[in-house]
Amino acid sequence: MDALAAIAERVASRNSRLEKIRCIAGYLSSLSDEDLPRALRFLSGRPFGPRDARRLAVGHASLREAVVAAGGWDPETVRLCIREVGDIGEAVSLLMRGKTEGQPLSLGEAERLYAELARSRRAEQKENLLRECFLRYRPLALKYFVKVITGDLRIGLQAKMLEEAVALAAGADPAEVRQAVRRTGDLAETALAARRGELEQISPHLFRPVDFMLARPIASAAEIPDPENWLIEDKYDGIRAQAHVADGRAALFSRGFAEVTAAFPELVAALERLLGSAILDGEIVAWRGGRVLPFSALQQRLARKEVPLFLPLETPAAFIAYDLLLRDGRELLDRPIEERRVELERLLAAAGEPLLVAPQFTVAGRDELERLFEQARARGNEGLVLKRRGSRYEAGRRGGAWLKWKRPLATLDVVITAAEQGHGKRAGVLSDYTFAVRAGDRFVNVGKAYSGLTDEEIRELTERLRELAVARAGPLLIVRPEIVLEVAFNGVQKSARHDSGFALRFPRIVRWRRDKRPDQTDDLDRVREIYRRQSSVSGP
């Protein structure tokens, strides 16, 4: 971990993509076959491999507790330091400077520690283990040890660059590495194969899930300049799933590579009747009377691990397929979407309920697109997914060849806690706002938004915020929580960046709620509720 940390620091201090890649490649070459997969996982911000179901479940609060205990700092100082530093791993390393035994930390030992964290059930156990780690290892190694826990190294290293570094280190063709990763969804496995010169032998394995291609969210039709260049499907409120079928056997995997075969025996039975072998991508939905029912109707079935002897009376499920990744040993990921679609329709032509093919639409212009969106909503679906004509199946990527357009979740009323000057034409005004929700008698931050207000409103807000200033932290003006905004967003995710432990995804300001007081804003319970409801297994 010490060497990995030193390399990560060098990568962070280089803007040049090529230099970053060279740096990583040199490091990867120096690693043993055992350490190579570990290093690649950690550099991707993951403690475990992509098919590993283990979760660390180490929260912001546990990390904070551990550094309070290990460093002997008071909780308030630690909280403030984390806020100022903006990254809990970096804060831990700075707060533990001069207070650790300075023992080296090997990648193998780090892996063992992550496993132990995942095994520990109670927060107290996890905190004890973290405290011991904080006292034992060097601060720089701790910085990255913790960053892997929080899931983001923040050194300007994208997944694609790691792939290129793997290729460079092994003297392999980057395009081949990329393809191999797409097939297996596993960079570490690919790196080992590349090192042995066995890249060609890598192909998607039946009954081992391929990384799902993901869709980038858009907020309106205005973001699509060329609606005629897209193939359009409804966005279903279901469970994104991959069906693997071969010779009368079938399995279903959801996002996160969890196998959900046992939960949907009627789908498995139908899949088993298909001829030949195939990997299908689609959505498991609750289905009755030719309509998709709300996702919650299915949720209780997900927990099931074994097929029950008698099928209880419950909401019937359907599998709406929309892509085909493999057919009778032929890999289709790199074939254009139109060709995959033709093969998919052929495969399911005779199947019928509960195996369906997602209807596909095309439009001539933006008006038609808007109408289609409203129709999808009227059918009870979430919105639309747009797929670029001619595109390949980019496993594991949220690359922009697929777009999803759904109504934002309900909005939240939040209060501004800090403001920062913008850039460009907004350089002179406070246009970037950190905002919070209520948590007991205080406010905890849940996000930061840049857009949505008029220039006039921003000017007025700037004046108000300057009056409310209580302190300055670098470029950040900390203000008394007074001003209430209504924000829309695309989801809620766990985040170490904010003291609430949550961050809104793609927040945008809907309006300035001059009519509301800070004590009338939404609270953390509501954010938690939204987080729980938007199941992470749902949708592309």
């Binding site: 700092w73 008071d74 403030l80 330091c81 903006g86 700075l94 400077r97 923040r154 209580v470």
Partner: protein, 327 residues
């Protein structure tokens, strides 16, 4: 001795003396020549000779009605029945702490200060006092800075590495203090440099004080190959963005945090400051031995709380006022 804190500065009514006032006043002690301390013109000014020279440069033509009194380091002088003595504070050239002795009470005002030796200027001398007013620009325990030898090495090796790669090393450093120190270090190492005029204007004073910079030329907006460029941080945006020819280093206490990269666009972070880091601040407080500590500037609340938890009688007075006004 009474002390009044306000948004305008620190006022000692028994002496009718302001410490680093932000507004025009009758009689002022100016700890050093940065704008937030020396930005206003006063009728009577007490400061070190170096600070006065910078003060004259800053307020050229506006000082006809001001009496400027040079206060040498270490020599006590009388004022309104008190004894004032200046001690080096190492912050920038001319920076000084002020010890005020009045009716048997000793008050030490640090101004901006660091404990590590500076690249240019005198090292801080600490004296004991009953009451301490200290700055806390970097008063959080996440700030750890380089000492001057480490900083010299980092600055020179970054410059040489860039030049070897046929790229231009750009250093962002404050226009008074850090800028001249970087220039001095690079000049002494034989690296050719271009210096922005805002920094260059103070170079003669640094040379006169014994810190010469050989081999520099004025930067007039044209980046020269084969030389390092020294710019005030605010002018980072004037450089061509995304140029592969340039590599930017940020030399500052704020460079102790990775988020400085996003803020300044610098690749290389060199955490060398003209302020004390957290451990230095603690060492200063301990060495002065005052039983009462007032914390001004920066993370005042946080630093005062840490001191309080460790047994000092510490306050963050200006912060309190600001909140009162808002509340």
């Amino acid at each position: 001795m009474r002390i009044e804190f306000s948004g305008d500065g620190i006022y000692l009514p028994d002496l009718d003396l302001w410490l680093d006032p932000r507004r025009e006043c009758r009689r002022a002690w100016i700890s050093h020549a940065h704008r937030d301390h020396a930005g206003a013109v006063h009728r009577e000014v007490f400061a070190t000779a170096e600070t006065l020279e910078f003060y004259r440069l800053r307020h050229e033509g506006a000082l006809e009605n001001s009496a400027l009194h040079a206060v040498p380091y270490g020599q006590a002088r009388e004022l309104a029945g008190a004894r004032l003595t200046a001690y080096p504070a190492a912050h920038i050239l001319g920076a000084a702490q002020l010890l005020i002795e009045w009716r048997g009470e000793r008050l030490l005002y640090t101004g901006d200060i660091k404990l590590r030796s500076p690249i240019c200027g005198r090292s801080t001398e600490l004296v004991r006092a009953d009451r301490l007013i200290i700055e806390s620009t970097f008063g959080l325990p996440v700030f750890h800075f380089l000492d001057r030898q480490q900083a010299r090495d980092r600055i020179v090796s970054f410059a040489r590495q860039c030049l070897e790669e046929n790229r231009v090393p750009v250093f962002l450093g404050h226009e008074l203090g850090r800028g001249q120190e970087i220039a001095h270090v690079l000049g002494q190492a034989g690296v050719p440099i271009q210096v922005h005029p805002a920094i260059a204007r103070y170079l003669p004073a640094y040379a006169a004080a014994g810190f010469p910079t050989p081999g520099w030329s004025v930067y007039e907006g044209e980046v020269a190959a084969g030389a390092a460029l020294i710019l005030p941080p605010r002018l980072r945006s004037s450089l061509p963005s995304g140029s592969r020819r340039l590599r930017v280093a940020y030399v500052s206490g704020w460079a102790a945090l990775d988020n400085a990269r996003a803020r300044t666009g610098a690749e290389e972070l060199i955490p060398y400051s003209d302020h004390a880091d957290f451990d230095e601040l603690m060492a200063i407080v301990e060495a002065v031995g005052a039983h009462e500590v007032d914390v001004v500037h920066g993370y005042t609340d946080a630093f005062a709380r840490i001191l309080t938890l460790r047994g000092w009688l510490a306050r963050a007075p200006q912060q309190a006022r600001l909140e009162e006004r808002n509340g």
